[in-house]
């Protein structure tokens, strides 16, 4: 039933009315969150076209943060959705979100050497890292956090047996606890 409705919701995501787009986005977000423990069902609902429409939807910053969180959940749940997201050019969306500029067409472009502290992504768009910092300062903090979470989830997993460090802070005394955690 939900599967039959999703193409209609995907169409609504492209409408001009912002309220409709907002509600359609929330519908998709809640569906993804509901099915995150059922990857097979989620893979049947979420495809590359829907993901493109969801990322391109003109929604409020708060809703976009929820979109990022839902995409993180979906990515964590299913590797096929990870691939669908990569095919839907999530890299460009995240790049633009974090740097404020459109990414180069080809990731192999030679970066431009120039004045100032040009490092990392700066060369590609002709920016300085100060511009990246300013862009991040203008973004809501939770949106940046969710974007970074999504970036991390989309990355290939670390090798098996990886144990992350767990840092407990208590009354200024730092202790490290080794725990097993899936990444």
């Amino acid at each position: 039933m939900i599967k039959d409705v999703f193409p209609i919701i995907r169409t609504v995501l492209g409408y001009a009315d912002p309220r409709l787009v907002e509600h359609a986005s929330l519908c998709v977000i809640r569906t993804i969150e509901s099915f995150r423990s059922h990857p097979e069902l989620l893979e049947g609902l979420v495809d590359t076209v829907l993901l493109r429409a969801l990322m391109a939807a003109a929604v409020s910053p708060g809703t976009f943060t929820l979109v990022l969180r839902a995409l993180s959940s979906a990515t964590k749940s299913s590797p096929k959705i990870t691939l669908a997201l990569l095919e839907a050019d999530v890299a460009g969306t995240l790049y633009q979100l974090l740097t404020g500029v459109v990414p180069p067409a080809d990731g192999l472009d030679v970066f431009i050497v120039g004045e100032g502290a040009i490092s990392g992504a700066a060369g590609a768009g002709g920016l300085t890292d100060m511009a990246v910092m300013q862009n991040l300062a203008h973004r809501p903090k939770d949106q940046v956090e969710e974007a970074l979470s999504l970036v991390s989830e989309l990355m290939p997993p670390l090798p098996r047996g990886t144990c992350l460090m767990v840092v407990y802070v208590k009354l200024g005394l730092s202790w490290v606890g080794f725990g097993r955690r899936r990444i």
Partner: protein, 460 residues
């Protein structure tokens, strides 16, 4: 791939693991000496192989945890057998991996590919994503001060570098710096990309948060595994290897409850470890002299190794429960459902020290450490000329020009912050400029040469 797996396993970076490595190297050296007719011929390769095998064994001691969507491995898998040869290019094939999902009884089982396999099947999308995002993550790290943001950025970078193989690592990071010191005299394309060596050096030197320092050490190790010829000189120039030496030379401070109660045995083990390392040095020295070494280092393995996990549980009191609850509330970093049974509490600084020790032992204990950085040596040579009271005007002039050329940048060599600090350039120039034995006219002409030289090169 097996070497990379071990980088993220904390159990491979303990005192026991280090002692095991040292013991293995000693055995390998002696084994090679007894085998080969020429005692001084090539023990290091077999020692390296032994170290590599021990690395595999250490990696294999960890019980694997499946990543989301990845296959579920079975313990005791043949790919992680001790002493098995390591094939870096081949991903480990484990029995029961990928996971089998039977559709119906009697139906043929359909293997489900793991997340890593699925991603490797689409290199164009994954490659573009990684190439775009890694520089952004570096910038986000530099632009943020929140630990969680930095931690997430660094984790993303680690994942990307861990996944990349061969030339992909260079394509992702596009290390530049002074390429004169890379790969002999080959000059690679000068592309200003992600200054990864500077990035890692800044994290290690700041030492503001243990998790970030450990991630930086993991990144260093990944780079040294994947492309040592490219990154080792860069890391040396940026002072990363020096920082690792400093971290490794720190004394351990861990005093867990079990270590306190068994302090005598711990001290004995630390002494044994020091003795083993001293023995290793002795063997190496005597090997050069062509003398047979017969003594075996005594490392007590009979003493029970402290088992912090169960003991910590046994020794828990109500106060500890309360403390743990408070800890849970104040937990600050990436969310973690930690299994108590697998917890080992260790001082974060000791974790860093041990990891640095093992990185130094694995990658920095060879003879190539004595090879110098050409830019650094050139800088020191120029400074020595400036300091030489008997140097003539022409020599001084050429030295000043040479120093100016180093700072001009462009296609030539440039000076890193670490080289600037270590060479004593600032003190040397201060001493030179305040030297009263130089005539004023000559001094001003030298300053003019320096400034003119720098300006010309800036605009070319």
């Amino acid at each position: 791939m097996g070497l990379v797996d071990g980088v993220f396993d904390h159990r491979a970076y303990s005192e026991k693991a280090l002692a095991r490595l040292v013991r293995a190297k000693i055995k390998a050296i002696k084994h090679a000496r007894t085998r080969s007719p020429n005692p001084s011929a090539g023990p290091s390769t077999s020692a390296d192989a032994m170290v590599v095998d021990i690395n595999v064994e250490d990696a294999g001691t960890a019980t694997p945890i499946a990543a989301p969507g990845s296959a579920t491995p079975r313990p005791g898998s043949p790919a992680l057998r001790p002493m098995s040869p390591v094939h870096p290019g081949t991903p480990p094939i484990l029995p029961g991996s990928p996971s089998i999902r039977p559709t119906s009884p009697g139906a043929p089982v359909v293997p489900v590919p793991s997340r890593t396999e699925l991603l490797r099947a689409k290199p164009e999308f994954v490659g573009r994503y990684i190439r775009l995002m890694v520089p952004v993550l570096v910038d986000v790290y530099a632009a943020s001060v929140a630990t969680q943001t930095r931690s997430k950025s660094l984790t993303g970078i680690l994942k990307a570098v861990s996944f990349a193989e061969g030339e992909e690592v260079n394509a992702i990071l596009k290390v530049s710096l002074s390429h004169e010191c890379f790969v002999g005299s080959e000059i690679k394309d000068i592309v200003q990309g992600v200054p990864v060596a500077t990035f890692v050096g800044s994290i290690l030197s700041s030492r503001e948060y243990p998790t970030l320092t450990i991630c930086a050490l993991q990144l260093v190790e990944l780079l040294l595994i994947k492309a040592p010829t490219v990154y080792k000189p860069a890391l040396r120039r940026e002072g990363v290897l020096h920082e690792i030496e400093v971290l490794a030379d720190r004394p351990l401070t861990t005093k867990t409850k079990e270590a306190k109660t068994e302090e005598g045995s711990s001290r004995g083990k630390a002494e044994d470890l020091a003795l083993a390392r001293a023995k290793l040095e002795e063997v190496r020295v005597k090997q050069e002299e062509g003398v047979q070494v017969h003594a075996e280092p005594k490392i007590s393995t009979s003493s029970p190794s402290p088992a912090p996990e169960p003991s910590s549980e046994r020794d828990e009191s109500p106060n500890a429960d309360r403390e743990r609850e408070e800890r849970e509330k104040e937990r600050h970093v990436i969310p973690i459902p930690v299994k108590r049974s697998s917890n080992t509490v260790l001082d974060p600084q000791d974790a860093i020290t041990l990891r640095a020790k093992i990185v130094r032992f694995k990658y920095m204990s060879g003879g190539e450490e004595s090879t110098s950085d050409p830019v650094f040596e050139r800088l020191r040579g120029l400074l020595a000329t400036l300091r030489d009271p008997g140097a003539g005007e022409m020599e001084l002039r050429n030295s000043v020009k040479g120093i100016a050329a180093l700072f001009a940048g462009g296609a030539g060599a440039s000076v890193s912050s670490y080289e600037l600090l270590k060479s004593g350039l600032v003190e040397g120039l201060l001493h030179f400029t305040t030297d009263t034995s130089l005539s004023r006219e000559f001094f001003f002409s030298l300053v003019l040469v320096m400034l003119t030289g720098m300006e010309c090169m800036k605009w070319t």
